[in-house]
């Protein structure tokens, strides 16, 4: 039985840009952040200066509940680089606030991945001390490593 875990190897770490630093700072504080439009209320990600619905520049940061469901998934067996342990399961998550993000599924077997599965964010400090958001089935605790 393979329980998916966060990557512990020397994987590439994000190089935050001027729009995204606040997002990654939030991850370091175990807070998942997204942007919401002050005009039309649309939630958006990746970090931007314009609303994804109405193109207004009146957008502000909010804290996410960290809860969502799997929109799509894949199980990868040929790693992008040798630093990644396979299998790993990239997922697109639709958050309850209505925004999407790309992450990886942890805390269950790869065979458990399915569209619609309820997932919650779990933060993991890995390569170079960088904290990444992963997602696990709601209520599933990660095994001790």
């Amino acid at each position: 039985m393979t329980i998916l875990l966060p990557q512990e190897g020397s994987i590439p770490v994000p190089q935050p840009g001027s729009f995204s630093q606040y997002y990654w700072d939030g991850c370091a504080e175990h807070e998942l952040r997204f942007q919401r439009c002050g005009v039309c209320n649309c939630a958006t990600h990746t970090p931007a200066v314009l609303c994804a619905e109405c193109a207004s520049p009146d957008i502000h940061w909010e804290r996410s509940t960290g809860i969502g469901e799997i929109y799509s998934w894949t199980v990868v067996w040929r790693p992008a680089t040798p630093a990644f342990v396979v299998p790993y399961v990239p997922i697109v998550v639709t958050m309850v606030e209505g925004w999407n993000l790309l992450s990886s599924l942890v805390g269950c077997e790869p065979e458990a991945a399915e569209i619609g599965m309820a997932v919650e964010v779990v933060f993991h400090q890995g390569a170079e001390g960088f904290t990444l958001p992963y997602f696990r089935p709601v209520g599933k605790l990660l095994p001790k490593t």
Partner: protein, 389 residues
């Protein structure tokens, strides 16, 4: 009635160099020069006839051959570059344009996936994303929505790879034939894609020459005309979550999952034809699912019907809509970041000329060449024809 926008333009030269897993002794510049000379020769022209170039390596050709000054574009990625060259000729900015690109020597250590499959963006790189995973997320969503089967995707891969199996110019010539079971029993890369459903990697160059339609009578090969084209784009590839429902702010059915739909509508409208008029589908094949998606996006079948469509006997040699007849990126070649994107156009030209030594579609008069794909957030379309529009 106003004149067709590409009435005065013809594609008159095409050339693929030898394609191989590794081209010893070559780098990108040297193999591109070979491709450029090949296309100019195929047209029956001389280097000094070139007064426009597309692509950074074609710019090298311009300098080395001292045929400048010339019009230039740095447009890199396949069909948009061909359309830009055609527009330059139609506008009178150039009369004979060389489009050339090639790759060799940049990807020889295969412990990581090819560099052009792995962008370093902050929102994807840490999750081990590469092109196969990006496209897999799109395919999985379609399977969920419509029940599209692994068998239908495998049938696409087997058909394309069998076209390469019989093509002596394909890198994977003679490696088949393949059945659906062969495809499904190859190792998994990024579920639902097995190894044999993915593009390969290789080296090689390709080139095209376009000129004014009033010059074609003196040239070596029959002209092929651009009946229409379009380019759909949703933003930078491989930086944002690949979401089927992305977009649609202007029109609800123009979502990223159907990228290429507007481009096809524009191309068909310019050409004054529809999907039923297409004789050969030189569709871009980064992954098996893409062809199912493209048939839906372009209106050959309804949304969600692509799986049944490809299983209905239409995509094989002799079928109503034969696909990717040289073996595509899965078997013919995938020479880097851009070579293979031009090769769908090159093959479309060869089909219209009737000069393909294998999988020639008899009497082909209209070819549809495409590039890109849903996982990359862009799809381009070019309609090629025998008759001057």
């Amino acid at each position: 009635m106003s004149k067709h926008p590409f009435h005065d333009v013809a594609i008159v030269g095409v050339h693929n160099t030898r394609q191989a897993r590794v081209l010893d002794g070559h780098d990108a510049r040297s193999i591109t020069m070979e491709g450029a000379l090949g296309a100019i020769s195929d047209a029956g022209l001389e280097p000094r006839d070139i007064d426009g170039v597309v692509g950074s390596l074609a710019s090298d050709f311009l300098f080395q051959s001292r045929v400048g000054p010339a019009w230039r574009s740095l447009s890199p990625l396949g069909i948009p570059a061909v359309l830009e060259a055609a527009m330059a000729i139609a506008c009178g900015l150039a009369s004979t344009v060389l489009v050339a690109t090639g790759e060799a020597g940049s990807y020889r250590q295969h412990d990581s996936t090819a560099p052009w499959t792995r962008p370093t963006n902050e929102f994807v790189a840490s999750y081990g994303m590469f092109t196969a995973a990006e496209f897999a997320l799109m395919a999985r969503r379609h399977m969920h929505m419509y029940g599209t089967t692994a068998e239908s995707m495998a049938h696409v891969a087997a058909t394309i790879r069998n076209n390469g199996h019989v093509n002596p110019e394909a890198v994977y010539f003679g490696k088949g034939p393949f059945t659906i079971d062969d495809i499904l029993s190859s190792r998994m890369i990024a579920d639902p894609f097995h190894l044999l459903e993915c593009a390969t990697t290789s080296e090689g160059a390709t080139a095209l020459v376009l000129t004014r339609a009033d010059r074609v009578d003196d040239l070596a090969k029959p002209p092929v005309y651009i009946l229409g084209g379009g380019t759909d784009y949703y933003g930078p590839s491989y930086q944002h979550p690949p979401v089927w429902d992305l977009g649609g702010n202007r029109r609800s059915d123009l979502v990223a999952g159907y990228v290429g739909r507007q481009a096809a509508e524009e191309a068909f409208a310019t050409a004054g034809i529809g999907p039923d008029d297409v004789d050969v589908c030189e569709f871009y094949d980064p992954f098996s699912f893409e062809l199912i998606r493209q048939f839906e996006a372009f209106g050959f079948c309804g949304e969600g019907e692509g799986g049944d469509f490809v299983m209905s006997g239409v995509i094989e040699p002799g079928g109503r809509f034969p696909i990717t007849t040289d073996g595509g990126t899965m078997s013919f070649s995938h020479g880097g970041a851009s070579v293979q994107l031009f090769q769908r156009v090159v093959r479309g030209v060869q089909q219209i000329r009737g000069e393909c030594s294998t999988s020639q579609v008899k009497g082909a008069e209209v070819a549809m060449s495409t590039g890109g794909g849903s996982g990359a957030l862009f799809t381009d379309v070019l309609l090629l024809g025998k008759d001057r529009p």
